[in-house]
């Protein structure tokens, strides 16, 4: 297991470097931040001073060297926009996104396991058809539209929920529901498909022939084997959420990493953008390793391959 973790960690270093390099150089190709941060009437001298103060007058390779040296000391630079340390801004925003993603994935997985298993238990039954229809719909609804409709219906028309913000449990309902709907729809379909295969497998027939309880057959035997593909897809969906639920964070005023990244791209706030991408990439690599570990725990064949 440890050798597998070590291999995964080592193989993650190269993509991480590519991400850091890509973000650093591509961001600087998108225009001069002086145009955004100085008044339109600023003189050429003011622009030159701005560039010199922020190191933008140096060759790109020198800027990159300085950046790497700073990061090695855990110094991510200063935000051009707020004049605050970029690392602080990112660390402040990340927990909000992690909470949102954590609750969303927890509810999506639990809901998908229950609904997907029920649908797969009797394929082509009414339950199965309704679950398939609803999950396909859920997987295809645009989240922007859903969020706005949620605000109009549940906040403005019915007055049951606040429109936005993060205060109190009620404020979590619309963002989590909006974010939940797509992963839930996708996972229901994956769980259903995997469970249909698993429930018709020989080992399930053997378990039933031996007189095992039906709940044990479904949850102890079939679900465990069906969990691997669902876990892979859930991992992918979780990565998407950790990357920042940009639409939901923007509409509901959620101070998360997605909104921070979009703002820093639009504002050419390079230090914040680089810090946010680096931290997000690290978390995504950690998440991928976690998914691999879960795979190994679920499936002894994976453990054996890892050991070999």
């Amino acid at each position: 297991m440890f050798s597998m973790l070590r291999r995964r960690a080592v193989s993650s270093v190269i993509p991480l470097l590519v991400v850091v390099l890509g973000v650093f150089f591509l961001a600087r190709l998108t225009g001069d931040p002086a145009n955004l941060y100085l008044p339109l009437s600023a003189t050429p001298e003011m622009r030159a001073e701005f560039a010199a103060r922020n190191g933008f007058d140096q060759p790109l390779i020198t800027q990159f060297g300085d950046y790497v040296a700073q990061v090695a000391h855990l110094d991510f630079g200063e935000s051009l926009r707020t004049a605050q340390p970029a690392g602080e801004a990112v660390l402040r925003a990340f927990p909000a996104t992690l909470q949102l993603a954590g609750w969303t994935m927890l509810l999506a997985i639990v809901g998908a396991v229950v609904i997907g298993s029920l649908a797969a238990y009797r394929p082509n039954s009414v339950t199965d058809r309704v679950a398939s229809f609803l999950s396909s719909t859920a997987a295809s609804v645009p989240d922007f539209w859903l969020a706005i409709m949620g605000v109009l219906v549940f906040a403005v028309t019915l007055g049951w929920l606040p429109t936005s913000g993060t205060s109190g449990a009620a404020a979590w309902v619309l963002p989590v529901a909006t974010l939940l709907i797509r992963p839930f729809g996708v996972l229901v379909q994956v769980v259903r498909g995997a469970m249909v295969s698993a429930l018709s497998a020989p080992y399930v027939k053997v378990a039933r022939a031996k007189g095992a309880r039906e709940s044990r057959v479904v949850f102890g035997h079939a679900l465990r084997n069906a969990a691997a593909p669902a876990l892979t897809v859930a991992g992918d969906l979780a990565v998407g959420l950790v990357n920042g639920a940009v639409v939901v964070e923007t509409i509901f005023g959620w101070p998360g990493i997605g909104k921070l990244m979009i703002d820093s791209v639009l504002q050419r706030d390079f230090a914040v953008l680089q810090a946010a991408v680096l931290l997000t990439a690290l978390v995504i690599f950690a998440l991928n390793i976690l998914v691999d570990v879960c795979h190994a725990l679920l499936d002894p064949r994976v453990r054996q391959r890892a050991a070999a």
Binding site: T30, D32, L36, P39, S41, A83, G102, L152, T163
Partner: protein, 522 residues
């Protein structure tokens, strides 16, 4: 049997381990969420708190960046104050922390300061603090926005003559110095001279109470304020990027004021429309054919249906010049160009007959989100120009790519362009419009003439009525003889107001939202 027992025990331990893992995950999630919710943004804070929802969080509250819209609408006249202030309706300069000012020589002004004013930290407001603030804003390492916006073409030095008398000198004669100083927010001498401050101390009716970054900013009424105490004991700002959500917060009684709305945001009967100082226009690159022919530039102006645009696309009033009423230099005789497609066609045909390459592709460089339905507006313009006989295509860009076209040096090899732009003269004097936009060497100017440059220079040196007339003449000259632009409309802003609050927005509201002007409705 013994072996079977061991297997069962292992299976039991594994199941318990998994259950414990899942339980731990849920507990951690709950704990983290609980912490966050505890520190979250309670929207309602009682009737004594004015709740305002903004499109974006202020990047800083640094007083010398108050000319930035996102900062200024929170700080200016609320947390900090200047020596003078401009009435946006009349254009007149009023007293603020200075009660009187006199021009003692062509390059020197003397200001008499208000007595009995204290800063939020209890220190007295003196001429020394005013001199310190002017130096900090115009000559420090902070790169103050106000320095680049207001003081680009002038250098000032300030000296305290005594506690209530301040002398401000300029290198060159500056007839509008008191107006420029309406942008310098006064801070105490204890303010860091070399770094931006996040929680400024000022003399305004409100002081900063708490700023929970990303969530809310709360101001509290300053009990030692020298003027009339404002109605509300506190003001709380939150920010939502989506206009329909801002409008919904007011209709849902989660906020009292929402700004920066578009007609389609659904504020309903809570919506209040007001004329802003923003003017939308197309900048014509008159250095390239066929736009170098004045007939084509006139044809472009005749081909744009301004009434149609403000009725069906965005909110505003047709306009013929880049400043709005109330700004020194506004010329009431410069009217919006009439919509006359026949005349536009004839002008293009006449130019074509004289060999002007009217079939050359002209690119409209648009900017997404510059105002509501920006892309649709350019499609309407394109349609009018195509019907006039020109060959026009549209390229919509994001703000930074668009800025490359707005500011010198312009990108090379682009062919003839029409730039979708908007200009807001926040300062109240045409000097902040004419030089940079119409001067031959202006930062945003694609074309100018020597005659117009001379008129602008003459206007900049004039004062009083002569200044008003000189700038008004320069606007007329631009409109009649140069036609560098197709000015479209004086844009209208929309805010949503709860029935609990009385407030009359004015043309400066987008840049400066005075909390003291917001009153209880009861």
């Amino acid at each position: 049997m013994a072996g079977s027992g061991v297997v069962q025990t292992h299976a039991f331990v594994r199941r318990r381990g998994r259950a414990a893992g899942a339980f731990t995950f849920v507990v951690v999630l709950l704990a983290v969420s609980g912490c966050s919710v505890a520190g979250a943004d309670p929207i309602g804070e009682g009737p004594d708190t004015l709740r305002i929802v903004l499109p974006e969080e202020p990047p800083t509250l640094e007083p010398c960046d108050a000319s930035l819209t996102a900062t200024g609408r929170v700080t200016r006249a609320n947390i900090t104050e200047a020596l003078t202030e401009r009435d946006p309706s009349t254009g007149r300069l009023e007293q603020a922390l200075a009660t009187q000012w006199t021009r003692t020589s062509p390059t020197s002004w003397t200001f008499t300061l208000r007595k009995g004013v204290t800063f939020h930290d209890g220190s007295p407001f003196t001429a020394e603090a005013a001199a310190f603030s002017i130096k900090r804003a115009t000559d420090s390492d902070i790169e103050c926005n106000v320095d680049g916006y207001i003081f680009t073409d002038t250098e000032v030095t300030a000296k305290a003559l005594n506690d209530t008398t301040l002398e401000v000198s300029t290198r060159k004669p500056d007839p509008i110095l008191p107006l420029r100083l309406s942008f310098v927010e006064i801070v105490p001498t204890s303010t860091d001279p070399g770094a931006r401050v996040r929680k400024p101390i000022g003399t305004g009716p409100y002081r900063v109470d708490e700023w929970s970054q990303g969530r809310f900013l709360r101001l509290k009424r300053f009990s030692g304020y020298w003027g009339e105490a404002p109605d509300f004991a506190a003001a709380k700002y939150v920010w939502r990027a989506e206009g329909s959500v801002r409008a919904a917060m007011v209709t849902n009684n989660e906020a009292d004021v929402a700004i920066g709305l578009a007609p389609e945001d659904g504020a309903g009967d809570r919506a209040v429309e007001f004329v802003t100082n923003e003017i939308s226009y197309l900048r014509i690159d008159a250095t390239k054919a066929p736009l170098d022919d004045i007939r084509i530039r006139r044809a472009i102006n005749y081909a744009i249906d301004r009434e149609g645009l403000v009725t069906a696309v965005f909110a505003g009033r047709p306009s013929g010049q880049l400043v709005s009423k109330g700004v020194t230099g506004y010329n009431p005789r410069v009217r919006p160009w009439p919509y006359d497609p026949d005349r536009a066609r004839k002008l293009v045909a006449a130019a074509r007959a004289d060999g002007v390459p009217t079939d050359t592709a002209i690119t409209i460089i648009g900017r997404n989100g510059i105002y509501p339905k920006a892309a649709e507006a350019m499609e309407v313009v394109q349609d009018g120009l195509l019907k006039a006989g020109l060959n026009v295509r549209i390229k919509m860009l994001d703000v930074n790519a668009w800025l490359e076209y707005l500011l010198r040096p312009f990108p090379r090899g682009t062919g003839p362009t029409l730039l979708q732009a908007q200009h807001g003269n926040q300062a109240g004097d045409a000097a902040f419009t004419m030089g940079q936009i119409y001067g031959s060497e202006g930062a945003q100017s694609s074309y100018g003439t020597r005659e117009l440059d001379a008129s602008i220079t003459k206007a900049q040196l004039a004062s009083g009525d002569a200044r008003q007339k000189a700038f008004a003449d320069a606007f007329a000259q631009q409109n009649d003889e140069v036609v560098r632009d197709a000015v479209m409309a004086n844009m209208t802003g929309i805010l949503a107001l709860s029935p609990n609050v009385r407030y009359r927005p004015d043309s400066a509201t987008n840049d400066e939202m005075r909390l003291a002007d917001m009153r209880r409705a009861d």
